[in-house]
Amino acid sequence: FDVSQSYKSHLRNCVNSGIRGSYQYSVVVSSPCFSFDCVVSSHSYLLNPFTILSCVAKSTCGLNNAVLSLFILSTVKGNVLLSAIFLSLATYQSIYPLTLCASALLYLMQRQYIPVNFRRASFWWFIVQYAFMYLGSLFVIVCLSFFLLGSWDFLPSVYGFILSVPDLTPNIGLFWYFFAEMFEHFRLFFLCVFQINVFFYTIPLSIKLKEHPVFLIFMQLAVISIFKSYPTVGDIALYMAFLPVWSHLHRFLRNIFLVCCVLLTCSALFPVLWHLWIYAGSANSNFYYAITLLFNVAQILLVSDYFYAFLRREHHLCYGLYLKRKDGSEATLVLK
């Protein structure tokens, strides 16, 4: 709730400083929507069936989500130390929030008016500060765990487990089926490919979205939830809770109907095909993995649709809402 409220006020400030002409009225977020959207955001997390399911399963996903939300809140409020500490806590639990470093850095630098330029000393100095705080707190937490346990065994069991994917119990992710049917010889290669896939999107997304780090955080969260080695529905609930924050993008979304239908159908078909596979014995793992694939494809489509909508809105902010070609006829915007 707090996160979405602070982001909305930030957004309003940004947009008001960039208004150009009457075309912008329809595109600018209007004030009465703000508080309603924030309430909707908190409700869409709390009342999300995925959240309720992960609570019923007594998963620790709620704690992961809480730490990530605190990290986003402290970043948006501009508190460098707290942001680094919460990010290190999140990374301590599972390695993947490491990718959120870049987006946090971009936001905090933007807030403190440090230009993102490789040749400036202030840029590097800020990175060094943040890295020191982040790595320092991570080191402190890891050492605390060592003192609590008395041995370093937890490092391979926690981080080694997440990275090397030894357990192939079927879940809603993409890893288990691949690694179940793969030869041992190629396992390390595919492991590296799959894990790099999660981290790799940081670089192009950061370059493209360097002026919009909060959207970058959202995209990173979504990419982590889809491509991590053991995703759960609690992770999906977290990034879906942020969707109402971008309600002003709804008019630019193209596939929202298809995506919603596919997500709903897949969520309903997951237990049916699990029952048919495990209990009735009439289906096999292919049926279940097909639904997993479809579910993940729908999520990817949702995320890329929001990305498209965001970029299109930026384009309209610069060039106006109703595009005209040189001879005055109406033009259509095509993503190539």
Partner: protein, 615 residues
Amino acid sequence: MGLLSDPNRRRALISLLTRLNAPICVVCYMAGVAWFMGLAFEPFTLRTYMSENAMGSTMVEERFPAGERALTTGREFAAHKKKAGGMPVDWLVKTMQSHGLEVFTQRFSRTLPFPDENKERYMVKGTNVYGILRAPRASRTEALVLSAPCTPGDNNNQAVGLLLGLAQYFRSQVFWAKDIIFLVNEHDLIGMQAWLEGYHHTNTTGMDWSPLQGRGGSIQAALSLELSSDVITSLDLVLEGLNGQLPNLDLVNLFYAFCQKIGVLCTTQGKLQRNDWDSVSGYSHAVQTMMLMVMKQASGRSWGDHGLFLRYHIEAATIKGINSFRPYKTDITTIGRLMEGMYRKLNNLLERLHQSYFFYLMPSLSHFVSIGYYMPAFGLLAVILLLRALDLWVQLTAPPPRTEDGVVDPEQMSSPGVLSVLTPLVISHLTGVALYTLPIRFQEMAVEHFPVSETEAVVLTAIAVYTAGLALPHNTNRLLSGGGTEQGWKVLKLVAVLYLAVLLGCTALINFSLGFILAITLVPVAAFVTPHVPKFLSAFVMIILSPACTLLFSVFFFQELQEMPISFLDGWMLYLSVISQGILDHCLYGSLVYPLIALLVYPCWLIFWNILFWK
């Protein structure tokens, strides 16, 4: 992905779909029904073939000799059954022990939620008796089951006699690699449920049973015998199990192969296969056989004692001996040889039957239709719902007309719409919950106030709650703040259509016949109901197509298919007993048809009823 990202092509396709929406829906519906009817046409079906290699290659010579002795044993069993007034436990234990089996018994008891008027039982107590023939050489990890039910009266005595005769014969052979369990269960399905729960250490239905003292390993296959006469003319194979689950097609292929080899007439659904598929009467015969299977599968009840095995991933079927007026009779020795052959083939299995199809329809015993062929019929019906949903979405998100400035009112009315949809949804589901819980809970109160028996009370309460739900729209419209708007019913219909599509899809995956029958009746309702159609005519059509009336028509249709047409009054009594059996099946064995209809299908239908009466 050109379709998803190219705006011109998208717009063209979407405008085509919205312009031609109604014609496409009608065409899809006709195509779906025609496809389904065409499934029984023989050139569109495949011949059955044995898929499991382990069962195909060995030549088996059956030598069961002791048919007469089996009949004598059967008559002794009948006498002892009459004397004991139930299951003659001691005599069975003694006989099985004398044949050299390890014999164990299991007691069970269950109080039904309300008396079962078909079988006249309320507080059921019984004993199962089973003997295990240990495999002489192999380790005891797998088992096969042969069972015969102990029914009161003169039924199934010959089955128990044959079972004991086969046990004695099998005991003298040395090549059995799996343990064979010979089970005589009392109170048919209730006893079988108790035995299976005891064997697998599960307790899902709240029955009381004593633990099993002896086991034989994981059960690979099971056959249930029902024989009530000394000679038979044909053998009937019953496949449909609980929740419409079917055994692996290889079991059917095995039975058919052995009937061909030994020369016994075999039927499915009690109908003999005909050779003249290209004539109208031949085709209608195949359609009748297939529709009987569809009706039986859709009811979700287990049509033989084998039906409960399927849930534990054990392939099972029931073999019924039928004595009709044909001149050529088969004696018990031949049946014994058939059973011996089948068990020797099953003995050769290396793993559970999984090579052949689990989802199929059979217009005759030698031809089948697999899931890949019958699912498109359902898919065509589901497409209608998706087209309707797309049409509604396009109507809801069509941009409002622009003023000359180009300034557009940004207020899209989606957020109030979602909240107003919630009220009818919640009320419909609460009515569904009432339909599910009230009949059984309030049967005592109903019996106090009205002169009906408990069973009638339960059934009549269910019908009463169902009919009471019809009066809802007039009341919910008063609760809705400010009444509904044009947007409101469209949002509700969009949600309802998608909900119905997902519901029918999931149902069709688990039990195709139930999903298809519900689709045929509910999809036209869902597609064409709006507040603007003529109210009385569409209300009448909606009631005709509602789940309860579909069930009533199915009862009459089923009787017609079995060539035993009944009068309206008898049909109505049969309908009431079907409802009570459905509720009992759910309480006793965990059948899912009653909760599905009460908790999910009925609320969905109520939402459409709500839309019809939207103000």
